[in-house]
Symmetry: C2
Subunit: 275 residues, 2 copies
Amino acid sequence: MREEATAFVPGHVTGFFSAHPDDDPTKAGSRGAGLTLTDGVEVTVEPAAERTVVLDGEPIAIDPVVDVLEALEAPARVEAVSELPLGAGFGVSGAMALGTAFAANRVFERHRSRNELVAIAHAAEVRAGTGLGDVVAQAQGGIPIRLEPGGPAVNELDAVPARSRVEYVPFGELSTADVLAGETAQLSRAGEAALSRIVEEPTLEAFMDASERFARDAELLTPPLEAAIEDVTAVDGQASMAMLGETVFALGTGLSDAGYEPSVCTTHPAGAVLK
Amino acid sequence: MREEATAFVPGHVTGFFSAHPDDDPTKAGSRGAGLTLTDGVEVTVEPAAERTVVLDGEPIAIDPVVDVLEALEAPARVEAVSELPLGAGFGVSGAMALGTAFAANRVFERHRSRNELVAIAHAAEVRAGTGLGDVVAQAQGGIPIRLEPGGPAVNELDAVPARSRVEYVPFGELSTADVLAGETAQLSRAGEAALSRIVEEPTLEAFMDASERFARDAELLTPPLEAAIEDVTAVDGQASMAMLGETVFALGTGLSDAGYEPSVCTTHPAGAVLK
């Protein structure tokens, strides 16, 4: 057993998605596309008599993390440091689950493969209702297109072969679990239409365009988001909403050009990695 | 059309493999496992009236690169700068094919997805006989396990969730095309055995162990390689041979400890990326 191990997991903003429930959480998930971000979460796991989860210095209850520790039979303290806010659509819970899986596998020498660890973290997220597609995207990095839902054994992934500067402004929180528990039929129809668009033209421009249309069609925009997207469009930029959080994101200098003071990062070339 | 685009593709040493020919080059390929390397190839593509390929300042004929340019209808000059020698088992031709695909897609705005670009480069390598599994591994990064052969539409990939310092010494060249054109039945049996071993225990130690056994069973070791592996083993290190080149590689400080003066890099966390 090692003393500790640390993994970095990129943040992930989903631009559009459709929900695909299944009784088997390794098969449930979402289709869609998003951007992984150089801003992310660093997760350190060390053996401990009592299971504890700490985010940015504060003890916190994150069900998927506990679930992952149980799946790996890993009695541990998990300490996460995040550059991104929780509950604002950046996949922080997914990052914590995936980072915990990678780091605990190393510390406790569980000898699981990458796909097995991704499946464990994905299933934990699905069971908790905190996400449907962040984990598999965060394991791949780049600009993932999720063609088929589920964990690594059943899903199908592609990607937009590009990279970009990304700006974002979080206005507030939105509960993924609440939205997913509600009526998702209209949302999923809009998500399938957006996916067809990006499969036809896998570029950043098409991704942003499809994302903005999805946010409107799914009727998830709040007034601050609507205003920010309009402001960016007015300066010839492209912006949309992070699914699911009250967060606006834009490519390049879209939000700065529109007078906002955004956080700035870029798309992340790699998936989750041990440090 | 853009003026130029540059992609970086990590090097890749295969530790073991089995060959799986198919009339369809997008389905042909290899099973096996290897290490992608932070030492790699930078490929710049710019539009040009005449197709030219340059490696480290010298014009060179690399069939898979020309094949990729034709597939993407990209009349271009390709300029590659490699940290790794050609023909020594580092996947340099695969890196050039894949880097050309990513960069040409961007320059000529061909709107292909990542998987489509990987498929084009993979098929080009297979057709030229210069490689069977490097391209899909170099597109993924990390320490790829190739569970099923072929391009992205048909293959299955996993990975060893780890990273490591890597040392290597190239002694000379070995023609991949010559070895693959010969009798590969014994080699493939040894490769399948090695794959079972790493599926059971996806760790770096098991990878090195399976690779060394494969090199012996496949009867590909030359006297300098045999001596170097013994020297590293004598100082409690693990070393094996890069498939296919007269190159020895080791984890950590294996070769330095044994008195060699190796090149040093680490496993690469990401697959091919546009710069």
